[in-house]
Symmetry: C2
Subunit: 277 residues, 2 copies
């Protein structure tokens, strides 16, 4: 197999280098160019595995020495243009402080209307930290959730930071951004459960979670909007020790979603996904 | 009750302002000055509740309008010096991008040798992201864990970012930093469990976790050091759906520690902490 051709770029003034820099550093430019950046071999591999078309592959001089980078450069379809940058220039266009030396660009994925049917899903209201949002998606994916509805106030699911925290979850979970959450939940047939500190909340471990659940997660600080809280069939609390009254939203999601997965496993109920045993 | 005196500061050249800026922005300066910064009302309140002595309280002009800030300014001991800064100058000395308008300085807490005895604890090996470390401590505190051993390669537990993610957990969990982890575990009487993807790992939900457990968490990417893995009595995996093979370390900790808490609650076993019911 012949080595794929790498086009060498050496200047910050090059139009493509400028474009990469803008994509890495500006949410507005990502929207305008309708494109985003995948940083590192893991995300590039996840995209290829999910059949997502790469627009370009970019490797640094020292990144070229890594076996996994060379493998991905060889594995990507032949028509994907490949670029080679010196380490300093690569650092200039990378969205992270310590770049590993490989990145790819992809078209900004469309926000596809999610049709969860009677599957469980997460409903995210106003989580503004891209790291928290990415971690939430990663946890949901690992727990077997395949649908996410994100409300207006949420961070961009496809920003480099959210992608990095998601570690490929964005390619596994069907994500609908900018949702009218209330309207989307109107005909949902399962339980709508809000994670909220309320007098009438049910301890997580006392609930039967084996049916479909729409898990509502709100922003840290504000919590869920009153309208969503009103829509919920009930509130859940995670029993905690005195002195610490709340968890980070991604940690709370991990506890809730894996308790549901535990209950499903314990009864042999599998909702369309395979648990490796 | 008379309003506490606020000393107005207006220049970046003021020595105390320079000191605040250094504390907020440089790990080296925090070590050199042996001091750290608590940003926001929640952390200041947690410190006061834990009996930690504040060295100074700093409020911004707009922060002064907030009821909870005025309450904390009034509640802190009279001898704590209080400063008032214009919003722009406050933003200059704040460790966060969107400052709420209140901060405090405290002496860098000493790394106190932790004596977990037969209590459960977390053992953290090389988690370099301060947000992950803080979230891990917060989750541990909420799950009833009161001891944390942090190895050499970990992020600073008392940096502003780790404090922010910890949301007061640093004042509840006894933290020993810079530990010789292997030596500290030598006489531990409970189970040492490593969270690691290994052939011989036990699914989390099949383990009896009602006794004391030392939970070993490693860096993302590298995982646990071989010596710690060798010390573990066993490896645990969290059963996940195919396609996503790992969780963020803080999310993994949330699943493990709350599964232990669930088992303890289910059997009425309480390890020295009170679960509100």
């Amino acid at each position: 197999m012949s080595e794929p051709q790498l086009k060498a770029l050496a200047s910050r003034d090059n139009a493509f280098v400028k474009r990469l820099h803008a994509l890495a550093h500006s949410a507005r430019d990502r929207r305008k160019l309708d494109e985003t950046v995948l940083d590192g071999a893991h995300l590039v591999e996840s995209a290829l595995a999910a059949g997502v078309a790469l627009r370009a592959l970019v490797v640094s001089e020292s990144g070229l020495l890594r076996e996994e980078h060379r493998r991905l450069l060889a594995a990507a379809p032949a028509e994907v243009p490949r670029y080679r940058l010196g380490d300093a220039l690569f650092a200039h266009v990378s969205p992270v402080d310590s770049p590993a030396g490989l990145l790819a660009t992809i078209a900004m994925p469309a926000s596809t209307p999610s049709a969860p049917g009677d599957a469980s899903l997460i409903v995210v209201d106003g989580v503004q930290d891209p790291g928290n949002l990415g971690s939430l998606l990663r946890t949901a994916a690992a727990a077997g959730i395949r649908h996410a509805l994100l409300g207006e106030g949420c961070a961009q699911a496809w920003s480099p930071r959210a992608l990095r925290a998601g570690m490929g979850a964005q390619f596994v979970v069907r994500i609908e951004e900018g949702c009218e959450l209330l309207a989307r939940l109107e005909s949902y047939p399962g339980l709508c459960l809000a994670t909220a500190l309320r007098e009438d909340a049910h301890p997580l471990y006392e609930l039967d979670l084996r049916g479909p659940v729409a898990w509502l997660f709100g922003a840290e600080g504000q919590g869920l909007s009153p309208a969503l809280l009103a829509r919920a069939d009930g509130c859940v609390i995670i029993p905690m020790t005195a002195g610490i009254e709340s968890l980070n939203v991604a940690a709370a999601a991990a506890v809730c979603l894996f308790e549901q997965a535990r209950q499903l496993r314990a009864t042999g109920t599998i909702r369309g996904v395979n648990f490796p045993s």
